[in-house]
Symmetry: none
Subunit: 422 residues, 2 copies
């Protein structure tokens, strides 16, 4: 069979934006692992004509069609009926499913309505896939050029059915699977990174090289086919090594980890303890760190010194500094880092102070200006950045920038480190 | 124009299941508010031929096409190029965008690479929509029978652009628009709320009544058609009053505001100052509060007392309490609230201590157990909750629960308040 596939999600609630379509991402990820390319996601409402249109198009271009939703008992569940019509199959009762349904209703002393019986009907010639978490069975329909797999909509029913029953079926149909390595970068923009790798990206075939960006970080995914069971293919290793040679300084994870995960790993491995003092990020930096399970061994705590009073009383920032250089200055950042390290009894103090906006900016100190500092036994660091964007973006980028400086500092404290572990 | 619309998401990462497509649900919900029907969601990869196919189909059946993604600087960002080709437009540089780009790169001291300049090119005859949170502008292309709107992919750029610039444009295009009132609830589950309103929901026609749930909050959107410019129709007012009569105690916003916005409004209006002490939420509570612009007048700061040492040294929690009742207890929560109020010189101290998991639970104190306290001049409050779910969910629910108790406390300090302002 051709492994070109397409996912059709059926449900008006999706088109109304009442729920986010997580089934599509789940199925796409699982299909990728099986080496099955997904070329289209299509979502239609509970509407016979438009579902027929979508299924018709899909049958012309895809060898595998997976639908989710519309298998339930109610009158707006029309997936089976519509696909039977498009493929010219009769709907016939599946005796096993009918018996199972009757048993369920007998056990719960509920009366079976015609609606319920409808659930046991399947297109003639289908393979019926039992549903261990609901009443609507899945259906596999093998046509000449296309396989159509109909799955229930609720993730709690669809996911186990796919993992336990559809994956083995598809594995039999395919022979290879995809292996991906995702490198994560900080401190380089998507365009600059693309510029550095343009020759590789333009000449790519196998492995494929896909850069993408989000929330101030950039990733590059290197993907290649592998015999099922095979470890990372040499072709991926060669591409990874070349990218490492060109942009290694910006890579913070070789295993698709988040910046906070990698930084927390380094904290735990070096045995160093951390405390943070933040002003403009207002708790975001601390929240990023504590989102990592188990970090409590390394993280003493933090102070959100939003007011100048708190900067003085809790962190010991001097009144002179606040009046002379202001709350947003490298001097204040440094005293915040020193102060939080001292009062929390930590090895390292990390601080952020800046102007998140929308108000509070000036010509000398525009919105987006952020001063940061790191204080440790062996010395101190201060740096500043100008971020653009709205309040949320400035806060997020500042918190991640501070985390990254901490990560680099920790790396330097370790001799002969194997970065590729992170 | 016909208000039949369709959303095309562009990005191979979506087809690989690397990210969930939240843009589609967001745009669909917003379009529904405008009375614009969404009939299809289509997702394609960064592939010229398949994107052309999707856009071609969309132009045949939809009056409004919104695309997200593929506007970035890299060579696999092809949305503009492909749509220019399908519609027979040349790509020309937009001088204003070019200037803006140069300014951004100058301000942030980054060098501009050739593929950045590509971002300032737009199809001939388009309306260019500035991007306040990124470098890729949005594009509106008005054709004879179809309007094509191209938006950037990152939600942090797409959502504000749509809300601030596309919504006003679309409102102008549509003669009648939908007026919605969104009530937000805290402390009642979606199913319990639906049960209370089931008779209204089942008999609904105009206005429509749509409940939603997310992140521990529930909202109900009441929607009706109205002449453009018309104020809230009486039909909506009547439904709102009925819901208020049944569930008023749970309503915290009558204007679709977030819990943190409403709480910050109350802080500013009452003139009270706040300080928070948090353990298991690790900064999330403080970050929620400081996500609201202008809150710095009311928010003194916070202490993330992650370690017991910091609970003692900075907040003055007694060693006896920590050994006798433990860090997760109402006694500790109360001393944290008192302590942070004192050391930050605030009118109100709010505290959270609990077990976020996945580790650290016991039979007596299971994962998800959270103790909270509020300390003020006129007295103290303590309460506990048992949340279920993963680490992120426990942290988020605990932070919001604390915020809600603060909101209720502030409401009680105000006499003769008009809740409907919030």
């Amino acid at each position: 069979m051709t492994m070109k596939s397409e996912i059709i999600s059926v449900g008006t609630e999706l088109l109304l934006g009442n729920i986010v379509n997580t089934n599509c991402a789940f199925l796409s990820g699982e299909l990728a692992k099986l080496g099955i390319d997904v070329y289209f996601h299509v979502t239609v409402g509970d509407n016979r004509r438009r579902l027929m249109e979508a299924v018709g198009e899909a049958m012309e271009r895809s060898g595998l069609i997976i639908t989710t939703g519309g298998l339930g008992p109610t009158s707006d569940d029309i997936t089976k009926e519509t696909i039977a019509e498009v493929t010219g199959r009769k709907l016939i009762p599946d005796e096993a499913e009918l018996a199972k349904l009757k048993a369920i209703f007998a056990r719960t002393n509920r009366e079976m309505t015609p609606n319920n019986i409808k659930q046991a009907y399947v297109p003639e010639g289908s393979l019926v896939v039992g549903n261990d978490n609901g009443t609507a069975p899945g259906i596999i329909l093998e046509l000449n050029d296309t396989i159509i797999i109909m799955l229930p909509g609720p993730p709690i029913e669809m996911k186990p059915m796919f993992n336990e029953k559809i994956v083995p079926y598809l594995k039999e149909k395919s022979s290879t699977s995809l292996v991906s390595v995702t490198l994560k970068f900080f401190g380089i923009g998507e365009s600059a990174l693309e510029h550095q790798l343009s020759d590789m990206i333009e000449s790519q075939s196998d492995p494929t090289i896909a850069p993408y960006a989000g929330d101030g970080e950039v990733s590059v995914r290197i993907t290649s086919r592998a015999k099922s069971g095979e470890k990372v293919p040499g072709s991926i290793v060669r591409v990874t090594d070349e990218i490492e040679k060109r942009l290694g300084e910006y890579i913070y994870s070789y295993h698709n980890r988040s910046l906070q995960q990698v930084t927390a790993m380094l904290l735990m491995e070096t045995g160093k303890t951390l405390a943070v003092a933040e002003s403009c990020t207002g708790g975001k930096l601390s929240a990023l760190i504590t989102s990592v399970p188990g970090v409590s061994k390394s993280y003493m705590g933090g102070i959100v010194s939003y007011s100048n009073e708190v900067k003085q009383s809790l962190l010991g920032v001097s009144r002179e500094t606040l009046t002379k250089t202001g709350a947003v200055s490298s001097e204040t950042a440094l005293q915040m880092a020193d102060g939080v390290r001292r009062v929390c009894g930590a090895d390292i103090g990390l601080s952020v102070t800046g102007i998140a906006g929308p108000e509070g900016g000036s010509d000398q100190k525009p919105v987006g200006l952020v001063h940061m500092a790191l204080s440790a036994e062996d010395g101190t660091l201060t740096w500043e950045r100008k971020f653009s964007g709205n309040r949320d973006k400035v806060q997020t980028f500042a918190a991640k920038n501070a985390l990254n400086h901490l990560r680099l500092y920790l790396l330097n404290t370790v001799t002969s480190i194997d970065k590729s572990r992170y």
